[in-house]
Amino acid sequence: MAMKGTGIISGNGDQQRTLVVVFLRGGADGLTLVPPVGNSEYYRVRPTLGVPEGDILKLGDANCGLNPAFSALYDIYKDGCLTVVPAVGSNDDTRSHFYAQDLMEHGGPVAGGWLGRFLRYRDGVPPSALSAIALGKAMPEVLRGAPAATVMESMDTFSLGSQSGPTDRLKEELGMLYGKDESILGPAARDTLQALERVEKLRREDLPPMNGAEYGDNSFSNGLRQAARLIRARVGLEAVSLDLEGWDSHFAQETLITPLMTRLSDGLAAFHRDLGKLMKKVTVVVMTEFGRRVAENSSFGTDHGRGGTMLVMGGTERGNVFGEMPELETGILVGPGDVPVKTDYREVLKPILTQHGAGGSMAEIFPVG
């Protein structure tokens, strides 16, 4: 077979950028992930849960910082590769997990997910079979409507007929038949065989992460590790979706979400280190359906709110804080006492999607507003 792992994949693009979307399901508490700095009202309404001022990792002279559990991410911030967005969210005011997640993943009250529409309508060549993966068990709404999207739990998903014996001869003969095909399927088949070859090489070799990166032993970190391998193998991966669940902290919030923050931070830092220079072509967006009530409740937790947090890592993003933490006085809060949404999440996504080749398709990706 003529296909070797070294050529350039023409159709699905060795030059392709990859966008990784991490969804923190359950509504992560923005005021804990990214606590305000120098805000006495915060400590008044969060007597137990407020992050002590001295522990907050400062972001220049911004009026918010990073939770100390994000120490690994803090290094990335200092390297200029992390953007922190406080008080960000959607215009959903139902405070329902289901509606708010749906709205944010669809990109408005529209059909299909924004990542799915991005893949379908972005400029350039049609997506390849491996252009989008959801790491997990089910297809997330954000990828709905994608021209190709695969739910993947392990690398085996991609190989041909792995359950029932080898397919080398079939691949060889298909390479021969499609090699003589003069239709548009000819080049598509060549790309497909090459991508397969690269995935199978990955499976065979199972190389350790690069640059001394160490991933934790949990499904989130493992998902990121798989994503990094696929990105490095240049199989045409353009979009990855994965979830980190369990942020719905109505009681005992600190015990509940501190380990999650560590997991998020360490996972992303390992991914960042693993990919090294390739991070120039990779952007990771961390988002959640809403933030939580400003005042803590009587069971040391917080209830559903509005403005939350987004984090953006990599790409050509510069380390900074996008927007600012609003004051937390009564007159400024919305609804039953929630952080107002100062930045629409789509305003954070649009420039990123443009960088990833959205071209003239923004009206299809975000049809409303």
Binding site: A111, G112, A148, L160, S183, G186, T192
Partner: protein, 494 residues
């Protein structure tokens, strides 16, 4: 309540079935046998024997979800010449109500949710409704004898696209499929468009429900009006202006769909107080003030009879049945019949099938979309499918799950957007031939080969022509003829 309704459903089906029986007793014995499930005597079937795709295979490729060995033989037996045989076949297909289809109907009956009255749709979990609708769609495409009807149902599902993931479409699309798409799939175009305009799912999908002008401060919601002109009727460049879009939106203002009340949810209503009752001008036609709900009919008459609509629909039908870039002559001829017949879809289709491009043009030059690929593989291999959900996984991977296209233009019907789907086509071809798709999907490869008189015969029945020397040699070398055939370039086209 629930029980009574399902009894009614089965009674309706029973009546339909007996009607079929009455009709049936007048037709030929061969079909009686077929109807009774005895089938024609199954000996070896003579597969296509030409070097290129023969006319019968070509017609089956284009007007059905793929030939089956038995259907090929049956059509061949309809007349002495290929030309007469396909003419007789198309006559049958263009009169679907007279085609007995009991087995497919019985297979679909078990999806009770999609037969429920509108208000009851809300009682189902939306994921369950979508599952039932999707499975029913796969069952019909695979097993219905009214293949052209099913192809047209697909065509209209794209033309009048509704994505179930938008708001209440997740409950209402099943009713749209039944009352709009399937009810008028081979009827009159204007009836279809009217049903769609007043479909609860469409009123949600394109925001018609929010198009209200209770006073001069309110602006009409143009979304449906724009897509009606741009996609459903005149087409881009069809000669309408932004002003026409706004005027059409004014005409439709006041039509809405109930979103509250247990028994009224989903009901379509006209609210005269939310209707802009002033005079309008649509595409040069004056619509007098005071028309109220009649404005909608005036608009639909204007747009359905517009010459751009005939041309737009003719072009889309020609793209479906003839080529990604059909000839101007074919489009013109089709548009002429569409206009002259007042949008009679059967007559229009007949004219498509009479074009020189259809009968004598290039064959095997339309790429099967993923849904068509999967269904044609199931049909060609006579697969026994007892659960369809594993097929849906493949469709999602290939971006072609029914009723899940996000924007109003529907899944594309030309080759280029689908070239990234080869990996999963191969995956499916191998899994199907090795009986690895799931426990619920099984084929009998040995029997297929035996009935076709060998692997070359099997290849011929799947490709509509005898296999080339390269194809034959490749089949032999792999030792997995069927997997290779289904994955090969030849089987990707129709």
């Amino acid at each position: 309540m629930k029980q009574r309704e399902s009894d009614e459903v089965s009674r309706r089906h029973f009546l339909r079935a007996t009607a079929g029986l009455a009709l049936f007793s007048t037709s030929s014995c061969e079909r009686v046998e077929d109807w009774l499930g005895l089938g024609p005597k199954e000996g070896p079937v003579v597969p296509p024997s030409g070097e290129g795709i023969d006319l019968i295979s070509h017609v089956l490729n284009r007007t059905t979800f793929g030939p089956t060995p038995l259907e090929y033989a049956r059509v061949k037996g309809l007349a002495d010449t290929e030309e007469d045989a396909v003419a007789a076949f198309l006559d049958e297909q263009l009169n679907p109500d007279e085609l007995e289809d009991k087995r497919a109907q019985r297979a679909v009956r078990r999806f009770e949710a999609i037969h429920a009255p509108l208000a009851e749709m809300y009682e189902y979990k939306e994921a369950f409704l979508l599952e039932q609708l999707t499975r029913a769609t796969l069952v019909r495409a695979t097993r219905s004898k009214r293949q052209l009807f099913e192809i047209m149902a697909h065509f209209w599902s794209d033309h009048l696209n509704i994505d179930v993931s938008k708001k209440e479409c997740r409950w209402l699309k099943a009713a749209d499929d039944r009352e709009v798409v399937r009810k008028h799939a081979l009827g009159k175009f204007s009836d279809l468009v009217r049903a769609s305009a007043l479909s609860p799912a469409m009123l949600w999908y394109l925001d018609g429900r929010e198009n209200r002008m209770r006073d001069s401060s309110e602006k009409p919601n143009e979304n449906y009006a724009r897509e009606l002109l741009e996609l459903h009727t005149l087409g881009v460049g069809g000669g309408y202006t932004q002003k026409d879009v706004m005027e059409v939106a004014r005409c439709f203002s006041g039509w809405t769909v109930r979103d509250k009340g247990r028994f009224y949810k989903g009901r379509v209503e006209f609210h005269s107080e939310a209707h802009d009752d002033g005079s309008k001008v649509v595409l040069g036609h004056e619509i007098a003030s005071g028309g109220g709900e009649k404005d909608l009919d005036d608009v639909l008459e204007i747009v359905c009879e517009h010459p751009s609509t005939a041309r737009h629909l003719a072009e889309k039908l020609c793209i479906r049945f003839l080529a990604d870039e059909p000839s101007k002559a074919s489009i013109d001829a089709t548009a002429k019949v569409f206009s002259e017949s007042g949008g009679d879809l059967c007559k229009t289709l007949r004219s498509v099938f009479e074009t020189d491009e259809f009968l004598n043009g290039a064959r095997g030059q339309k790429l099967k979309r993923p849904f068509e690929f999967i269904v044609s593989a199931l049909r060609g291999t006579r697969a026994k499918v007892s659960s369809e959900m594993d097929l849906v996984d493949y469709l999602i991977r290939m971006g072609h799950a029914p009723f899940q296209y996000p924007t109003p233009d529907g899944y594309p019907d030309v080759a280029s957007p689908w070239t990234g789907t080869l990996l999963w086509r191969w995956h499916f071809a191998i899994a199907l031939s090795r009986n690895d798709v799931s426990k619920e999907i099984k084929i009998n490869q040995d029997e297929l080969i035996e009935k076709a008189g060998g692997v070359a015969g099997l290849a011929a029945s799947l490709l509509g022509r005898i296999p080339s020397k390269e194809e034959l040699a490749a089949m032999e070398r792999t030792g997995e003829s069927l997997a290779l055939l289904l994955a090969s370039p030849g089987f990707q086209w129709r």
